[in-house]
Each structure stands twice: as structure tokens, then as C-alpha cells.
């Protein structure tokens, strides 16, 4: 590795700034995100990190851009453009590749309905966010693009007819060529190959082919033995675009055919094949790692897989309520409007979750009364879930696995995370009153603005013209003196992100815009050009819902505080 390669991204970007400038528009100077209406205070001259929140305070963004709307999960967007920079927390090198590891091809192995597509999308999302140039290659997508009608036989790993074999060969050739091009021509670092790969000879061929190009090959074999899980996967798969327009029953029958075609052909992986692989059983219930010598990235992916869970609930994002002077130093409390906002937010989120719970398992008597003395009337409480009722019932029974009673352990729990600021956690107070767990997470501390704290964009431009210029070229990686960049913030927030992945139920995150951007940017796979200018308003609650191929963001209006009427009155 050359000297050049060792430099972290931040520095590298500065050097390349000349070329970068051509790609990015210098932003409108007069437009800025302002989320407070209070008057403009004179900023203090002394550098410090207090962040008095003035009307025209710098917010890490040069333009107003609304949060991307539904169906715009960026996880399938191209990373192959010359100037692509991923949000990433890891150091990348001049070659555009990760500092620690070389090029890796992850090959998924498994019968249909073993969540291979979900896995490949999730790995792509996570590693891209880590700063790896990743792309997944879904054979099913290629097939769909090639022909409208595909005979059953073509879904078999070993077709019986000549045409079938020819068709299969053609699809595979195109996918393999694309993967080679991705590695060789577009600085790709991690490819994820989503196909059946159930024949041992096929796996050998892929391993040989890519190893000879100096690309490491790691297999992930997904197996399901749990009947309920298989059932759910089939249901999910039968909704895929292959069966668009087909009645549910027929789609299912079609899909079952695909499985039965391939079942007799399946050759499970074994350590004797001599390949590096991870066996992923029943959606992560068990993980086995064989011939582990790729170290870092493998460990990191395994860590991620340990925490990846099938999501049953949603992730919600909201801003905190308002305070009087919006002054950081005093760590202010909420004002009247802020309190009203908190109450409305609580009603909105609880109702929304209850609605979904009623749909899935009918109403159960509230269990929250067990947790703490709750003063709220019953109809405002969260409906307890099957899992939490069972957990209580089997507590201390040594024949049954015990579930810890802490946050998010139940597969359908609801938890609220807030930043460690008074008005942020006060915004969650009404949730607490209803017996819902609220946790302050120090990782949600907002982006440290360094010397430009309390300053408007105009002032920054006047006082630090060079810094301003650099920042406007790369607002994601640029670090003002003493400040954190978004990149730094992402590094610090990573543990939170994994915890978020692990929770199967609902989470509401109340935080500063900067931290919401990072989490939203991960879930919706935003590029780092988009991320610093995502805009979260107080009048919208954001709901992210999950599906195997992509995530969906929905904006839910929060009624204005003026419409608030206390239900006590």
C-alpha cells in the first residue's frame, strides 16, 4: 500500500477539491435551514461548542431540501459514478477502496424463500454506509429485465431442456460480466451476488474465477428449518414483482413449485469444500463461521448479521418541542408550545402503533398498568403485545428461555430514544407517563459545530471564507475548526444504528436534526451529498417501514400546536 493510500478520507477530499468543485453546485448563500423563529442573537466571539440556537444559526446545510418521499430508498442506486462518495465511517483510500480490506465478493447460497434478497440488500445498505463501494447483483432482477415470461423450468438450478440451460447460461454470463466490470472498471470493493448457488460445482467455479482476480470470496449460506419462518418468507416472496397481478393463492403455488424444483438439487455447504463461509440459520438464530481468515470485514458483517432482525414495527423520527430562547448553554426546558407539541406527538405515535397492533392481534387489556402507576385513561395507553404478555407469564420458568425485560427485547415492543438534552427528553415525558420506556442516548448528542456555533451562514462566510468554501464543496466530510463533520458523527453513532437494527418492534427517535439525518441517511441509503441537507420539520413525523427489497418513508403531519386542546379541560 502506498503512502497515499493511508490517508483518511477527509484529507483526501481536500486535495481533490479542485475536481470536486465541478460536480457540485455552490449553494445559494442566502438560503439556509432555520428551524427556530426567535430573533437573531449576536454570537459570542470566543470559540466554544455551545450552540445557542438562533434564528439563523448554521445547521450544516446550505439548502432546503425536503426528506425524500416514499419509494426512494437509495440502496439500489448506482455507486459506480466517478464522484460517488458514500457516507461511510471507515477510511477509504485514493483507489476509492476501504483502508482495511481488499476486494470481496459475497456469494449468497440457499433455496428460494431463505431471505437471500433481504440479506443482500441489508448488507449493501450497511457496508455502503460504512464507506464501502458495494453493489448487489440480484439474478432475479436480471431475469425480469430479460424476458416477460419465464417457464417454470428456468427457475431450476439445473434446467432439464436445452433451451432452459441456454437461458440460464445467458443470464449467468451477463451477471458475471457485470460483477467483473464492477470490480475492475468502477472501483467496486464489495459485490453481493444474490442467486441460488446451491450446486457445489457452481460455487467452486465462482470461487476460482474471482480468487484468480485477487478478489476474496465469502459465501453466506442461508438455511431455514423453522416452519413459521419459512411460511413468512414464502408469503413475502409471493408478493414480489414476479407475481404482480396474480391472486395470492396462485402466486404461492407458483413459488412453491420453484422451491420443490430446487430442493433435490441442493448441495449444502460443508467445511470440506475448503471455502470461507458463514452459515446463517433461521434468520440469524444460529451463525457458524468457517475458515475465517478475512478478518475485519467478515467480523464486521457477522456482527451486523447478529443484530439484523426481521422488522415487525417501524422507526419513527421526530424533532423535540420548542423552548423560549432556544439557547444551548442553559439546557432549557420546554415552553408551553413545546409541551403541547409533546402531548400531540405522544397521541399521534401511540394511536398509530395501536392501530397497527389492533389489526394484527386484536385488543388485549393494557399491560402497562403492571409497569408503573399510570395516570392516563385506558384508551390512551399502548396496547400490550403478545410477546410481552408471554414474557411475564413464563418469568422464572426454567424450562422456557427467558427474555430480558429490558428495552426492545420483546419482538414487538416500543421504545423511545432521546438525546441527552432537557427539552429533548422532556418531549418524551408523556410517553413515560404512559408506561413506555424512554431512554436518553448520549450518542444522539447533536453534531458539534465547533467555532461556527451560533453563527449564521452569512457570518461564517464573512469570518471564515476559506473554511466556508471548503465546506460548501463537501458538507458531509468537511470539519470546521474544532467541529465534528457528519462523517465523525456517523462514526460515533454506529453502535446506535446496530441497536436500531436489532429491535424488531417500534422505535421513536427524538433528536436534533443532525443526528436524525445520519439515521435517516442509513435507513434510506442517502448519499453524502444529500445527507447534510435533509430537512426535518416540526410539523412532520417520519415513519420508516421495512420490506425485503427496500424501505419506505412516510411523512405524517403533526397538527399545529394552535389546534391543541387539552383533553383534561
Amino acid at each position: 500500500m502506498s503512502e497515499e493510500d493511508q490517508e483518511p478520507r477527509g484529507k483526501r477530499k481536500k486535495k481533490k477539491s479542485g475536481t470536486k468543485a465541478r460536480h457540485l453546485k455552490i449553494r445559494e448563500m442566502s438560503v439556509f435551514v432555520s428551524d427556530e423563529e426567535s430573533s437573531l442573537n449576536e454570537p459570542t466571539a470566543r470559540p466554544g461548542n455551545h450552540m445557542a440556537r438562533t434564528g439563523k444559526r448554521w445547521s450544516g446545510s446550505g439548502q432546503v431540501r425536503s426528506v425524500k418521499l416514499s419509494n426512494t430508498d437509495g440502496v439500489h442506486e448506482s455507486v459506480e459514478t466517478e464522484d460517488y462518495i458514500s457516507p461511510g465511517q471507515l477510511y477509504s483510500t485514493e483507489s476509492g477502496r476501504l483502508f482495511h480490506a481488499g476486494r470481496i465478493l459475497i456469494v449468497l447460497v440457499g433455496l428460494p424463500a431463505t431471505s437471500k434478497t433481504l440479506l443482500s440488500v441489508a448488507i449493501t445498505r450497511y457496508t455502503r454506509w460504512l464507506g464501502v463501494r458495494t453493489k448487489s447483483f440480484h439474478v432475479s432482477e436480471y431475469r425480469r429485465q430479460m424476458t416477460d415470461y419465464v417457464p417454470d423450468e428456468y427457475f431450476s438450478a439445473v434446467p432439464q431442456t436445452k433451451e432452459g440451460m441456454e437461458y440460464r447460461r445467458k443470464v449467468m454470463t451477463i451477471v458475471h460480466e457485470d460483477m467483473v466490470r464492477f470490480f475492475n472498471d468502477t472501483k467496486g470493493q464489495l459485490g453481493v451476488y444474490d442467486a441460488l448457488n446451491i450446486r457445489s460445482s457452481e460455487r467452486r467455479d465462482i470461487a476460482d474465477k474471482f480468487s484468480s482476480m485477487n478478489i476474496k470470496v465469502l459465501f453466506i449460506e442461508s438455511r431455514m428449518t423453522d416452519a413459521e419462518l419459512i411460511n413468512r418468507s414464502i408469503k413475502m416472496a409471493a408478493q414480489s414483482s414476479d407475481y404482480y397481478g396474480l391472486p395470492k393463492v396462485e402466486a404461492r403455488a407458483e413459488y412453491m413449485k420453484r422451491i420443490s424444483l430446487n430442493k433435490p438439487l441442493y448441495e449444502s455447504m460443508s467445511p470440506e469444500e475448503g471455502l470461507s463461509y458463514v452459515e446463517y440459520i433461521n434468520f440469524g438464530q444460529e451463525l457458524r463461521i468457517y475458515n475465517n481468515h478475512y478478518g475485519y470485514l467478515t467480523n464486521k458483517i457477522v456482527f451486523f448479521l447478529m443484530n439484523l432482525r426481521e422488522k415487525k414495527g417501524c422507526v419513527y423520527f421526530a424533532r423535540c418541542g420548542t423552548s423560549d430562547a432556544d439557547n444551548y448553554l442553559n439546557d432549557e426546558e420546554l415552553n408551553e408550545d413545546g409541551k403541547k407539541y409533546s402531548q400531540m406527538l405522544t397521541d399521534l405515535v401511540v394511536n398509530r402503533i395501536n392501530e397497527r397492533r389492533r389489526k394484527t392481534h386484536g385488543a388485549i387489556t393494557p399491560a402497562s398498568r403492571k409497569i408503573s402507576p399510570v395516570t392516563e385513561p385506558l384508551e390512551f395507553l399502548l396496547i400490550p403485545t403478545q410477546a410481552s404478555v408471554e414474557r411475564e407469564a413464563f418469568r422464572g420458568d426454567h424450562r422456557i428461555r427467558q427474555t430480558p425485560s429490558w428495552d426492545g427485547a420483546d419482538e414487538d415492543s416500543f421504545v423511545v430514544w432521546t438525546a441527552p438534552r432537557k427539552r429533548t427528553y422532556d418531549t418524551a415525558k408523556f410517553f413515560e407517563n404512559r408506561g413506555i420506556s424512554v431512554r436518553q442516548r448520549s450518542q444522539l448528542q447533536q453534531l458539534n459545530p465547533g467555532v461556527v456555533a451560533d453563527m449564521s451562514e452569512e457570518q461564517i462566510k464573512a469570518k471564515y471564507p476559506m473554511e466556508y468554501f471548503e465546506w460548501s464543496k463537501d458538507p458531509y466530510h468537511h470539519r470546521f475548526p474544532r467541529a465534528e463533520s457528519y462523517h465523525d458523527l456517523a462514526v460515533r453513532m454506529e453502535p446506535l444504528l446496530l441497536e436500531m437494527e436489532r429491535m424488531q418492534g417500534d422505535i421513536l427517535i427524538i433528536g436534533h436534526e443532525s443526528t436524525l439525518r445520519v439515521l435517516y441517511g442509513y435507513l434510506m441509503a442517502c448519499t453524502c451529498t444529500e445527507l447534510p441537507s435533509l430537512n426535518f420539520q416540526r410539523d412532520k413525523l417520519i415513519e420508516i417501514s421495512f420490506s425485503p427489497f427496500q424501505n419506505k418513508a412516510t411523512l405524517i403531519p403533526i397538527p399545529p400546536v394552535t389546534s391543541y386542546s387539552s383533553r383534561q379541560s
Partner: protein, 433 residues
């Protein structure tokens, strides 16, 4: 823990405890062997560990019971979060007994098995055990090795490793030959996954870590805290001398330099002929509104804050700045990376060094913020299987002291003995210059 003797169980257990305690997660290790020794079996020979030796078996069973009872007491009375039962737990019967006991207390245990057939590693471990285990105190090393191998063979007769089928309903992790092969079953919490990830990153290859503060800065001379000032003239002298110091300590070994993003650490490292990485996470504790002030100014302007900080320095967060606890959280990825890496030299700041040093040397939170880490001194850490060896090398370039005693706004080492914590580093063995 599960596994035959000399499989690195205690090493892993202690590492986990240290890592979690450092992150303020209450963790404790209950070593069954030390309960057995306390019960009066101080220097048992291999025959003691024969599973047909009824009398000895009872003593060992009682030791395990005592350990588990103490563990539960610790959970209940001291709000413990992660307890580790460090014993061999080689039979399924023993493990089921632990499982039942835990579940009756609404705890789902995680079993961590270290399995190895790598004879080199086992012999290395045995030689470490001989040196450190009280069981073999004062016993001829050759005899000790022989006896220990015999002891292992007694365990081998009854050993039932965790099994794919039989144990499929319990949470377990099986490490085969360090982490060459890993089996992870039914992990159910984030904390468990974090521990597994940490263990997977541990390695036992020999390596060293060097720590240094930046050279004396202009702010150091002016007694100001924080800022992003340049080095003083003496600070630059240290930077010129550093390559020799490192060479003297590391020889021809290759290493990587990690600095913070602040000017003074980069200036300090600039003469070093190794590859360099700048980490934001290594920046000095952020003093918020007090940044750029002297301690005297802080005492005058924010007397309440000044006092509050002295009273609980670990938790105290400067207005708009950070506490030691905050620094530890942001250093966590650095520690994970350090465990994975080989030779590293870290040039960073006083508070950050205190936190990193506390991790390696297991310094408690009440003491770590009060450690004195002098300027112009290189500290060398050599992680060994059972603890870390520390030496320091002084550069012989004079510098101001930036150490502040509790209850005063004056900086400088007092002539008296001072607090115990202050001297943790000052009393280190010094390598010849």
C-alpha cells in the same frame, strides 16, 4: 465459560470484564478455581481433578455453588449487569444446573466455549498458567507442566463440548482455535452481540502499543486548556526527539501512528517515518464554554462548575462540552480497532490518554481522571495473556506540568506525595534512556 484448562478462558473472561467495566457496564468475573482454593485446596495435584475422586468432586461442586450464589447476590444487591462464571463447566450436567438456576432467576445465560486442538497455543497457555496460577506457586516448572497436562487429561475424560443438536435451545458461542471457526447460537441482545464481536476481534499475537501526549503547546505554557494551538519551542524539540525514542523502544518493527485532528498532535508526530492516521475520536476532551481558559479563570467565572468538576470529575460535563464518560463512549471504536491491530503509536491528549490507559490497565473511574500523565514521555504497553506490561521512556526535554490537583486551580505536581491516582503513572518502571 466452557472449556478444558489452558484454553484461554480466564484471559477472555477478564478481557470482557475490563471492556465492559470501562464502558460503565457493571461486570464481574466469578472464578470457580479461587472459590475452591479458598475452601482449602490450595495446591492440589492432578488426582484432585479426577472425576472419580468423590471427596474432591464435592469440594469442587461446593465451590461452583458458592460462585453462583455470590453471583446472584451481586446481581441483586449491586445491580450487576454482566457476570461471568469462569470455570471449566465441561459436563452437560454442570451446565444444565447453571442454566436452571439462572432461568429460575429470570436470566437467560450465554455459554462461551473456547475449544482448541492447537498444541502450540495450549503449551503457551500452560506456561503462562504456571507463572501466574496460585495452584503452582513455588513448584518446579517442569513438574508443574507435567501435572497440568495430567490435570487436563482428567477433564478430557468427561468433557462434553457444546453440541449443535443437544444445545440448540440455549444461547452459546463456540470459538474454535481462537476465532478460526465460530458458532453463534441464539444471541438475543445487543450487548451479547457486542461481546461476541469484541471476542472475535481479540488476538494473541505479540505486539506493542505506545502512547504519548503531544509536545508542550503554547496553551500549555500559558496554562490554558483546550484550544488548537501550536507546539512551543520545547514541544518541537520533543517532536524531533520522538523518532529516536520510538526507534529505541520498537527497534525495526513497523508501526502505525494514530493522532487526533488537532494541530499539536500532528506537529508532534510529523517527524516520525511511519504511516499516519488522524482520528477525530482522539481529540481532547471538549471543555465547551471553558475552552481556552486557564483553571484560575474557570474558578473565577464558573465557581460552581469548577467545584462540581472536582467532586465528580468522571461524570462532570462542561457546559456545551464533554465529560470523561462521553470521551469513553466516543473512544469505543478506537479500542475495538486497537484490539484488532498490531503495533500502534498513539499521539493524543491528556484526558484521552487517561481513558485509553485506564482500559488497558483496568484503572477505576474514580481514579482515571486524576492520573498524572507527564508531557514529553513515551509510554509502552505490552499486552500479555494475563495483564499488560508498562514501561515509560522520558525524552529529557523539559516541559511545564499540566497536572491539576483536586481542589486547587494551580497546575503543577505538588512536592508532597499527593493522591494515589496521580502516581499511577509516575511510579512506573523507567526504561533506560
Amino acid at each position: 465459560m466452557v472449556g478444558l484448562p489452558a484454553r484461554g478462558k480466564s484471559f477472555i473472561a477478564q478481557k470482557i470484564v475490563r471492556y465492559l467495566s470501562w464502558l460503565s457496564i457493571k461486570a464481574k468475573c466469578f472464578n470457580v478455581g479461587s472459590y475452591r482454593r479458598r475452601a482449602g485446596s490450595g495446591h492440589p495435584n492432578a488426582e484432585f481433578f479426577d472425576f472419580n475422586n468423590v471427596q474432591a468432586f464435592e469440594i469442587r461442586q461446593r465451590a461452583a455453588e458458592q460462585a453462583v450464589t455470590d453471583m446472584m447476590k451481586w446481581y441483586e444487591e449491586e445491580n450487576g449487569v454482566v457476570a461471568i462464571i469462569d470455570g471449566t463447566n465441561t459436563t452437560r450436567e454442570r451446565r444444565n444446573w447453571i442454566l436452571k438456576y439462572c432461568r429460575e432467576h429470570a436470566i437467560e445465560p450465554m455459554f462461551l466455549e473456547s475449544w482448541s486442538d492447537d498444541m502450540d497455543m495450549i503449551l503457551r497457555n500452560i506456561s503462562d498458567v504456571k507463572k501466574s496460577s496460585p495452584d503452582y506457586e513455588g513448584i518446579n516448572p517442569e513438574l508443574a507442566t507435567k501435572d497440568f497436562l495430567k490435570r487436563i487429561s482428567k477433564y478430557e475424560k468427561v468433557y462434553q463440548p457444546l453440541d449443535h443438536e443437544l444445545d440448540k435451545n440455549i444461547t452459546y458461542v463456540k470459538l474454535i482455535n481462537v476465532a478460526q471457526e465460530v458458532i453463534i447460537n441464539r444471541i438475543q441482545t445487543y450487548l451479547e452481540s457486542r461481546v461476541v464481536f469484541y471476542v472475535m476481534n481479540l488476538h494473541i499475537r505479540p505486539r506493542c502499543i505506545w502512547l504519548s501526549r503531544h509536545g508542550e503547546s503554547v496553551y500549555n505554557v500559558e496554562k490554558k486548556i483546550g484550544g488548537d494551538s501550536w507546539l512551543s519551542e520545547r514541544g518541537f524539540r520533543y517532536s524531533y526527539k520522538l523518532p529516536d525514542l520510538v526507534k529505541q523502544s520498537a527497534g525495526d518493527a513497523d508501526l502505525t501512528i494514530w493522532t487526533s485532528t488537532l494541530v499539536r498532535t500532528q506537529q508532534t508526530a510529523r517527524e516520525l517515518p511511519y504511516k499516519q492516521l488522524h482520528w477525530k475520536a482522539l481529540d481532547e476532551l471538549d471543555a465547551g464554554v471553558c475552552d481556552g481558559m486557564t483553571y484560575e479563570e474557570i474558578e473565577e467565572k464558573y465557581p460552581g462548575d469548577f467545584k462540581a468538576r472536582d467532586e465528580n470529575k468522571y461524570e462532570y460535563r462542561y457546559p456545551g462540552g464533554e465529560s470523561y464518560r462521553d470521551v469513553v463512549i466516543r473512544l469505543e471504536p478506537i479500542i475495538m480497532e486497537l484490539e484488532r491491530q498490531e503495533n500502534i503509536l498513539i499521539v493524543t491528549h491528556q484526558a484521552v490518554l487517561r481513558c485509553i490507559y485506564a482500559y488497558f490497565m483496568n484503572v477505576p473511574q474514580e481514579e482515571s481522571p486524576w492520573m498524572s500523565i507527564p508531557l514529553h514521555t513515551l509510554i509502552k504497553l505490552e499486552p500479555k495473556a494475563y495483564g499488560t506490561k508498562v514501561t515509560r521512556i522520558r525524552a529529557d526535554v523539559p516541559a511545564v506540568s499540566t497536572y491539576k490537583e483536586k481542589g486547587t486551580s494551580q497546575v503543577g505536581e505538588s512536592t508532597q506525595d499527593g493522591t494515589k491516582s496521580r502516581n499511577i503513572l509516575l511510579n512506573l518502571p523507567e526504561s533506560s534512556n
